[in-house]
Amino acid sequence: MSWKNRRLAKSLWVFHASASPCNNCDIEILDLLTPRYDVERFGIKLVGSIRHADVLLVTGIMNDKVAPRLRRLYEQAPRPVFVVGIGACPTTRCCFKESYNVSPGRGDVIPVDLYVEGCPPKPEAMIDAIVKLVGVLNG
C-alpha cells in the first residue's frame, strides 16, 4: 500500500470548491500556483473536474444553500480523496457564527481531514499543510 501512497503523495491533483467564503482564501489558493509560491514543484495541479481530483479544497462557511451541493460534490470524487478546510471559516465560521443562513451544528456537511488556520492563511502556511498531508501519506 505504501508504494501507491507514495505515488499519490507526489502528484496531488487539487479541486477547489468555494462554499460561500469571502473569496480571499480562494485568491490565496490561486496565489499558490503563481511564480512566487509555485506548488507545481510538488506535482500539485489545479484540475477543472471533480473526477480528476485527489484533494478537495473547501473554503467558506458552507451556508444552507450550498451545503447539499457540496455534499453531492464530495460523493462524486473518486476515492481516495482528502478534504482540506482552508481558512478560519470552515473551522469556526469566525465572525459569521451568528449568521442566519447556517443552521447550528453543521459540522457534518463533509468530513474534513485537514484544517488550515488563518484569515486568510498565508501561502507559506498552506504549503506547510500540504507537506504535513504528504507526510501522513508517506506513513
Partner: protein, 394 residues
C-alpha cells in the same frame, strides 16, 4: 439541436466563488441567461446590527476578500457622515494610499484571471507575479496581505513611519516598470485583440439603464468616478485622470483597468511623498454618534460601494444597508451576453470582474424551527437535479 441549458456553476473553474448561471444555448450562441445567486451570503447586515461600529469594521472587511478595504472605508464614511466628522490630514493620506494600492492589486488580479479565462496562462502568471510586491507593501504597512484592519471611525488605526517610506518607493518603481511590459503584452497583442475586440459589447444606453458603475460603465463612455464626483479623504489633494473609453467591449474594459493601474501608481507615489512631511495625529476619536442617517460611498476597484447607516444615538447601527458594485454590474450581462457564442459569453461574464460575495451580504433571521434534519436537505436537492436533468434531456 434542442435548446440545451449549460449550467455554469455552482462549482466551475471559471468562477472562484459558487455561482449558478443557466445559459440557455441554441447551438453555440447564448439566447438567455438566468443568474441564480445566493450561495455566498452570510448575512452581514444582520450581524452588524449586533456589533458596535468598531467591531463592525472587521466584519465589513470580510464582505469581500479582494476589495477588503473598500467596504470599511465606505462604512466609515457613512458613520462620519452622520455628524460630518472631519479626519486629520495624515489619516486622509494613509486611507487614500491603502485604497489605491488595493486598486492596483485588484486590477492586476483581474488582468491575470482574464488571461487565464481565455487560455493565456503566461499573462496570468506575469500579472500575478508583479502583484506579489504590492502585497508585500501591504504586509509592511498593515501586517497582513489582505484584511488590513486599518480603518477606524474618524481616522486610521496604524501610522506609516517616515523611515518605512523609501523601500516602498523602490518596490513601486519596480512595479511601474513591469506594468509597461504587461500593458504591452496585453494591449498590443494581436491575437488577444482579435479575441476580445467587439466581444460582449455593453452600449452606453444599457450601462445607464442598468445603472452600471466603475470600469464597466467607464468602458462604455459613462464618465462616473466617486473620486472625482465627491472627493473625500485625500482625493481632493492629489491629481489624477479618470479614464473613460467609448465602445464598451471586453477589450476596452481591459484597457481601462490597465490605465487605471498606471494612474493609481501615480496617486500612491504622491501620497507616499506627502506622508514623509505631513505632521499630526492619525485619529480623531469619536466618542458617540447622534441619531440620524449617513451615506458613505467609495470608488472600489469594481465601482461605487454604497453604505447607508441609520443610528439611534447608541453605538450600534439601527440599520446598515450595503450595496456592492457587482450588485448592479452583474445584471448588465443580460444586455451584453445575449446572442453571442458560448466562449464569448463566459469571458463577458468575467469581464465585469464580478465579486459575488459582495453582492450577497443580505440578511435573514433564522426561522423558529430547530435544527434542520439532514435528510430533507439532500432530498430537496435531488428533486432539483431530477428537474434539471429532465429539462436538459427534455
Amino acid at each position: 439541436m434542442s435548446k440545451t441549458v449549460v449550467p455554469v456553476g455552482p462549482f466551475h473553474p471559471l468562477l472562484e466563488e459558487a455561482e449558478f448561471f443557466r445559459l440557455h444555448v441554441d447551438g453555440e450562441t447564448v439566447t438567455d441567461i438566468d443568474v441564480d445567486i445566493g450561495y455566498m451570503h452570510r448575512g452581514h447586515e444582520f450581524i452588524s446590527e449586533r456589533k458596535t461600529f468598531t467591531q463592525s469594521i472587521f466584519l465589513v472587511e470580510r464582505i469581500c476578500g479582494i476589495c477588503s478595504t473598500s467596504h470599511p472605508i465606505a462604512f466609515v464614511h457613512a458613520v462620519e457622515d452622520v455628524d460630518d466628522v472631519d479626519i486629520p490630514i495624515r489619516a486622509a493620506y494613509i486611507r487614500t494610499l491603502i485604497g489605491e494600492l488595493e486598486r492596483i492589486h485588484s486590477h492586476l488580479l483581474w488582468l491575470g484571471l482574464a488571461g487565464h479565462f481565455i487560455g493565456y496562462d503566461t499573462l496570468w502568471m506575469w500579472a500575478w507575479r508583479y502583484r506579489e510586491p504590492i502585497l508585500e507593501i501591504f504586509e509592511t504597512i498593515t501586517g497582513n496581505r489582505n484584511h488590513y484592519g486599518m480603518m477606524r471611525v474618524g481616522g486610521v488605526a496604524r501610522d506609516v513611519p517616515p523611515e518605512a517610506v523609501p523601500p516602498l518607493l523602490e518596490t513601486l518603481e519596480l512595479v511601474e516598470r513591469k506594468m509597461d511590459m504587461i500593458a504591452k503584452a496585453a494591449a498590443d497583442d494581436p491575437v488577444l485583440r482579435t479575441r476580445l475586440k467587439g466581444v460582449g459589447v455593453l452600449s452606453r444606453q444599457a450601462a445607464v439603464d442598468y445603472c452600471a458603475v466603475g470600469p464597466t460603465a467607464r468602458a462604455s463612455g459613462v464618465a462616473i468616478d466617486v473620486r472625482k464626483d465627491e472627493p473625500k479623504d485625500a482625493y481632493g489633494l492629489v491629481d489624477f485622470k479618470v479614464i473613460v473609453l467609448e465602445n464598451g467591449d471586453v477589450y476596452d474594459k481591459l484597457v481601462v483597468r490597465i490605465l487605471e493601474i498606471v494612474e493609481s501608481v501615480k496617486i500612491v507615489r504622491q501620497c507616499l511623498e506627502r506622508l514623509k512631511t505631513a505632521p499630526g495625529p492619525i485619529l480623531n476619536d469619536v466618542k458617540e454618534t447622534s441619531a440620524g442617517e449617513g451615506i458613505g460611498r467609495y470608488e472600489a476597484p469594481r465601482g461605487e460601494v454604497f453604505h447607508y447607516v441609520r443610528t439611534d444615538g447608541s453605538n450600534r447601527p439601527l440599520r446598515h444597508k450595503v450595496r456592492a458594485p457587482s450588485y448592479v454590474n452583474i445584471p448588465t450581462c443580460a444586455a451584453s451576453c445575449k446572442g453571442i457564442p458560448l466562449a464569448d459569453a463566459l469571458i463577458t461574464l468575467a469581464s465585469v470582474d464580478p465579486c459575488y460575495c459582495c453582492t450577497e451580504r443580505a440578511i435573514h433571521i433564522v426561522g423558529e424551527g430547530g435544527v434542520r434534519a439532514q435528510v430533507d436537505l439532500a432530498q430537496l436537492s435531488r428533486q432539483k437535479t431530477e428537474r434539471l436533468r429532465r429539462e436538459i434531456h427534455g
